[in-house]
Structure formats: C-alpha cells, structure tokens
Symmetry: C4
Subunit: 255 residues, 4 copies
Amino acid sequence: MRLSILIAALLVALPGTVTAQGHSAAVAAVIEDLVAANRILAAEGILPGYGHVSARHPEDPDRYFLSRAIAPELVTADDILELDLDSVIIAPSGSSSYLERFIHGEIYKARPDVQAVVHNHSPTVISFGIGTTPLRPVFHQAAFFLDGIPIWDYRDFGTAEGALVVTPERGRGLAVALSDRPVVLMRNHGVTVVASSLPMVVGRSITLEDNAEMQSAALARGDRITYLEFAEESMGSDFLRAWDLWKRRLTPTGR
Amino acid sequence: MRLSILIAALLVALPGTVTAQGHSAAVAAVIEDLVAANRILAAEGILPGYGHVSARHPEDPDRYFLSRAIAPELVTADDILELDLDSVIIAPSGSSSYLERFIHGEIYKARPDVQAVVHNHSPTVISFGIGTTPLRPVFHQAAFFLDGIPIWDYRDFGTAEGALVVTPERGRGLAVALSDRPVVLMRNHGVTVVASSLPMVVGRSITLEDNAEMQSAALARGDRITYLEFAEESMGSDFLRAWDLWKRRLTPTGR
Amino acid sequence: MRLSILIAALLVALPGTVTAQGHSAAVAAVIEDLVAANRILAAEGILPGYGHVSARHPEDPDRYFLSRAIAPELVTADDILELDLDSVIIAPSGSSSYLERFIHGEIYKARPDVQAVVHNHSPTVISFGIGTTPLRPVFHQAAFFLDGIPIWDYRDFGTAEGALVVTPERGRGLAVALSDRPVVLMRNHGVTVVASSLPMVVGRSITLEDNAEMQSAALARGDRITYLEFAEESMGSDFLRAWDLWKRRLTPTGR
Amino acid sequence: MRLSILIAALLVALPGTVTAQGHSAAVAAVIEDLVAANRILAAEGILPGYGHVSARHPEDPDRYFLSRAIAPELVTADDILELDLDSVIIAPSGSSSYLERFIHGEIYKARPDVQAVVHNHSPTVISFGIGTTPLRPVFHQAAFFLDGIPIWDYRDFGTAEGALVVTPERGRGLAVALSDRPVVLMRNHGVTVVASSLPMVVGRSITLEDNAEMQSAALARGDRITYLEFAEESMGSDFLRAWDLWKRRLTPTGR
C-alpha cells in the first residue's frame, strides 16, 4: 500500500503511463486525493465513522470513485471502487459499497459541473436540518452558499424506509432538491456538499460546520445577525492553502 | 496480557477449546470485546473516569462480566470479574467491583434480551436528566429510542443514600423504570443504556451523546425542532462499521 | 529529576529517612503528588497556563508548598518552594513565586482542615463569576458544594489594584468569603477550591467545571433545572479512582 | 532549518554579528519568535489554516516580516519575507505573500507603537462580528480592551470586492477604525489584534477567544453580566509565562 502510493505519486509526473493496478496517472492522482479526502474529513471531525466522499472519474464522466463500506478514517487506495452513474459497482467485481451510494451517482448524473461529493453528519450543520433557523453565510469563506441551502425531506418519500437515501428514487429526489446549489440539508439525517474538486468539497464541508457554529453561538446569545451580503466569492475559495495543510497533517513527515 | 489476548484471539477460531485462564473461546472473545468497550468509551469521552460497561456471559445467562472498580480507560482482561445476577462476585474469589454493580445484575434479571449494559455520565445526556426538555431522537441513527426515554428518580428511594444505585432495591427500581426500552435517564446522576451486543451498546451510548448535542444546539438557538418520525430502525444500527474503527483506534497498528 | 522521583518513590516506603534534598519521605510524597496535581490540572484544561495548586506541609501545619511562578504544565519537583502562612518564601532562599500566593497562605491560616488549595480560571466556572445564575450542584459528584458557593468581589477592595489577590489583605478577604465552604468564586477572575487532600482538590476542580457545563447546557436550552437535593456526599468523592487514572495518563508507561 | 534555528539562537547572544542569511542577531531572534507565533496560534486553534501574524523589523521601523502565503502551522524561518509599509515585498525578490498583507502594512504605518499584528478568524470572536452584543472584558486578563472594540465594516467600501482587506485603501480604513485600540473586529470576516511584542499579541489573541467564550456562555444561560470595571491592566499581561509554555509545547523536548 505504501509502495502503491509511492508508485502512484511517481506516475503522476508521467502522463499516459499506467500504474500496477492499470490506472492512468490521472486516475491514480484522483484516487490518492480521494484517500486523503476521506482521512482529512475524519481527522477534522466531519466524517467520524459514517458518511462518505466520492470523486468523478477524470477521464470518464459516466463513472465515479467511492470507497467500499468502511469508516472513512480507515480508507486506503485498495478500498476505492469504480461505479457507474446508476451506482452499480464496475470494479473490482464482487465488491460492495455504502447503501447510500445513490446520493453520489444521481448527483453526478444531474450536475455535469460537479466533480466531488461529500455526504456527512457534521454535528452543528445537522442541527440546522432539524430546526427552524435557515443556515446562512455569516463570514466571507461561506460566500459559496449565498444563494441559500434547500432542505430535502425524507418524509416526502414515506417513513417506511427510514430517513436514508437507499434507493435511486431518493437519490434523484435529493438531486432535484439540490438543484444548482452547492449544499443540500437532509431532514433528520445530515448534509450533502458538492464542488468542482476534492480540495474544494473538503474545504466547503469544513467551512459549513464552522459557519454553523458561529451562527449558533450568536443566536444562543440572543443576537440579531448581520448576514454576509453579496460579495464576489472570496479569494482563496479553492481551499488549496488549507488542503496543503490538511494533507501534511495526515503523516508527521508530510509524506 | 498481550500474550493472553493473542491466545484468546487464536482460540476464538477453535470452538470447544479453553484458554490458559480456563475460559472457553466464546467467553474469551466476550472478555476481549468488553475490554475494548471499556477503552473505546473512555477514548470517546463517554466513560472519562467513572461509569462502567458489562456483558452477559455467552454460555450462562445467569452470569455477567464486569471490571473491578477501576477507571474504564485502564481496564485489561485481568480486571474482568464474573458475577451472578444478584451481583455477587463469583470469580476470582475475594475481588471487589463497582458499588453500583446492581444496575447491571438487576437489568440482566429483568431483561433476557439484553446482552450488554453501559452506565455513564456523558455530559450532554446528563444535562437532560436535570432539566425539563425530553431527550428525543433528532437524526436517523437515534431511531433506537423513538419510543422515548424514561427518567428514574433517586428521590423516590429517599435522599439519605444519595443519588446512586448502591442497593439491589434501587437496581430493581431502575430496571422497572427502564421497562422494555433501550435507555433510562437517572435524575441528577447519569444514564443507563442496554443492547443485544457490546458494539451496539457502545454505539448507542455515543449516538445518544451526539443526539443530545444536536438537540441542545437547536434549542439554544431558539429553534422549534422537527423530531425524527417513525422509521424502521436505520440500517447499520448494529454499529459494526464504527466498532471496527473504534477498535482500530485503540492501538496505532490496529492490533 | 527522573532520578529524584525514583528516589522519592523508594523513600516513601521508608518512613524516617530523608531524600537527597533533605526531605522526609512524607514530604517527598507530597511534593511528588503536588507535581502530579499541577500536570493533571494542566492536562485537563483547568490550569492551561495560569493558576496554581498548593499543598500544606504534612509535618508542619504552618508551612505550605507552591511552585515558583511558571506554567503548571511545566512544574517539576525542583520548582516546588516552601512558604510560611504569611506567604513568605522559606526555601530555597532567593526564590520567587506567584503574585497571588496570598490566596493559599491566608486560607491555610483560616482553615486548619484544608490540606490543598487550587486557584484556577476554568472557563465555564468563571462564566458563573460574571453572571447572575448561582452555580449549584446538578449531579451526584457535585454534592460537595450543596451548601452553595459564595462570590468574592475585588471591587470591595477598590479597582485600583485590579481584580487579583496580590496583597495579604485581599487574601484574608477571600478566606472570609470562603468561610467553611469548599469553593469560592472570584468576580471577573476565577475560582478557588479547597479540600483535605490533593486528589480531592483536583477532583473537585474538574467536577466543578463538569457541573458548570451541564448546568449551562440545560439553561441554554431554556430548561428549568431540578438541582441535586440533600444527599450524603456521594461515595467515591475522594476521587481516588480518577486520581489513579490521571496519574497514569501523565506518562505512557504509567510511571 | 533545524541548524539555522540553532545558529540563530547562538547568534542572539552575540550582538552585531550576522547569520548565514545575512540577518543581524536581533532580526534572527524576531524571525525565530515569528515562526513560533505562527505555530503557537495554529496549535491553539486561532490560526487553523487561514489568517497571519507579522512583526515589525526591530532595526528598521519602515519594514515588517510576514510569511509567504501558506498555512501558519507550516511556517518555517525560510518562509518569512521582508516587506515595506506599503506591503511591497522587499526580500526575497520574486516572493509573494498573503492578499490581505495590507492589514499589517497600513497598521504599522498608522501606529508607531505597534510591533506585532495578528489577523485571525477565531471562532467565538468572529461570532461577535456578526451579531449585536458588544465583545467586552469579563475577566482580568482581558483588561487590555477595557476601552472597547470597534467594528470595521467592509460594506462601507462596497461589496463588489468581498469582505477582505485586499487593497491599501481597505487597509487604511481598517487602521482608522482601529484607532488607538488593541483590537478591531471585521464584519463577517474576523478580527485584527495588535501589541508591542509578539508574545503579547499572541496572548491577547488567545485571551480574546477565551473572553468571547465566557461572555457567550453566560449570555446563552440568560444571565445579566457584571463586566470588568476599571482596573490597572492586570499584572502578567505581557503573557511571558504563557509564552514560555507555548514555545515549550511546540516540540516535545522543549527545543
């Protein structure tokens, strides 16, 4: 596994080559970043045991990568599966993944601009999916959701199957609720965040929790809030500076 | 101790054999999981110094396993005692355990379906045992207590002996209050959680604290809450995925 | 320093002997526990950089031990000074200690039952010294302050010298406010906790912060609180079980 | 890098000498402290990925030191740049720094007494920049902002450029809002803190977050607050005791 990462890293510099697993350098790089995204979101408390993150295939927009059904903190490159947009597992054959994989497949289908998806239960964000206060941007890094956050309600699909997105129909319903936004809250369940890259979807997930905490702190004091007004999306919203930091933290040596 | 775990692990694969301590493979496996449960709940902040977790004997429903009276973070296999359902210590002879062991014995007596019990003082959960807001499920993983959480009040037994469950009578009173539910709050004291397995009782204890935090955050903002409506208990409520993670975290190498 | 601890530990078993520093075994044991108390309270977030803990001399009730003026997390046996009850430093000569050492000396003078004193700024406790809600026991381990917590107000001594206890007069005023209680809040400043042993004063300091958090969580939700009613002080209130744990945590090997 | 620190540390003792990088001992000492300030503020959660800290050149008041645009946790001596007060990078040539460097340059221009500046997004402080409750001192260590904290509002400069201080004009506006105070909140964005030394600006940044948490906790309970009344700035407000601790924590050996 250490060796396969090393090889993958080397191959990134050599476009057109393939790894021992038969991956192109571009695919190997996405898988390496997807493993990092899993472990970063676990370390930051966004994916503490449940939830998942995926990335669209860089060379085939009708495919995406997602881990088999283990805790994100434990994910390695060997756990990453390839699925089609109906969320059928293509490779390795015989694998199984998360029951809620339809979140990812149906959003990739509906949103060609999306390259990465996180579904999580981050604690303060989730508290906005059970209450009456809209989650709204209170600081500059949260400018990405200035247009508001819709809430998808499982009860529209009946309560017999619980609150989870375990069918293609529910996945499609979630994608419709998401519409062209970056975030959709899920009633009594969690949140789904999308972006055009893995660093950005990770940064947005963490920023969303930060924003939820700030907004909650002010409201718990009894304050009236001055929400962020229209602003060009803040510079640095690609979260690349933080991404460098988060990756470095994964190993003491910075790998 | 390291060696005894290794032996225990090997013996699990050989039903009918016994360990050096005279334990069957099934018992050795339960003791190993009970040690893990103690250390996981300590690491997750649920048993930071006080509180305890037990498991019913897998081969003799009239016995259960509980540590001697030390902090859960320090528990090893050598600290695990065997008790009968009157909470008398059977082995090793001459040992002593927690003063509140009657919580466990009386619940195992009253609830044949229960295989594991946690008594803890997890901070946000405990705040619901001193206040007026009922602790209710706000997200899918909390579906296990959709039927509500009763509160046991020590004052019904007089205040001269304090708030603790230090007599068989108080233990029986707690079991009556628990009834057929998975959780019972204890006024000015803590909470007791039961389940059909150690991974499940650990997962439920952690989920209960998560739910208490989310519910408190929404109410502190002044929100009206949409509580979880009837739903089949969410898939994954055996908490096995998280259990794998929590066990791996106990040692850097994943043992 | 490692060696001196080892020697001290050995000498504890030999009453009447003296250490290389000329300490009796009883004194060496108190100093070892005082170093542990400093480091435990730092690790638990109660003394994150400021604040201090002292112990009365076990053989001379007119003396007490306190560190020189460094952060508690850094205190070693070599930093422990001996003071008289006027808070004059007796040994080593030429040393200097905390400006607020009068807190300790004046309380030891007024309260012969007190063997250990902590002054800290623990965050949620301190918030009760600036507000209008009385800090009251909400769970069994907090039974030790069932008789209530007085507040000492620096403004009674004028604001020209700030809010701190930097004179013997202020120390005496604090001891009068404390009276026969275990805890005194200090307006816009912090708290002082006393007990008959170091493990107990450490346990009480940590429990006080836990209680403040639980009480605040319930009130922030808008709950009415059922406070702890009269109860014999809960069993285990010597905090020895937790003290064992906290000491073990100081070094990976448990020293 | 390890070696250059060692050399720098040795040279501090030899005024008039220069380091391998051509720095005087005084400059090398400031750079070492600036690296420590970056890493301390990251470790304490004040600069978790974004934000920055600078120091005025000790020998040329028209220059200041600031890192290139990386996360503060990763800053080493090699990342420190020298800028003039128009925030033009002087050395090393060809470097680039934070887009908001004008915060630092314009404040050094307007405030000859200021030797160090921190701009951060510390979570509870930032919640006061979005609400209606003034952030006011509630405990003695917060005496440094007894005169109040102004709020700079980006909307006075239009919302087209977002909420950030990315132009000299905005930097000057911020310096005007700061006036002769130690702190200025920035609407929907963060806070800027100034002081006469790096240890003091670090201590003030951390104390400000502590104060915001205490004040918020009391208000969330519904308390009326007794704010700190006039007091000579508390002794120890140079934060040197805590600075020693924070530096020691950066490396296990205390470097």
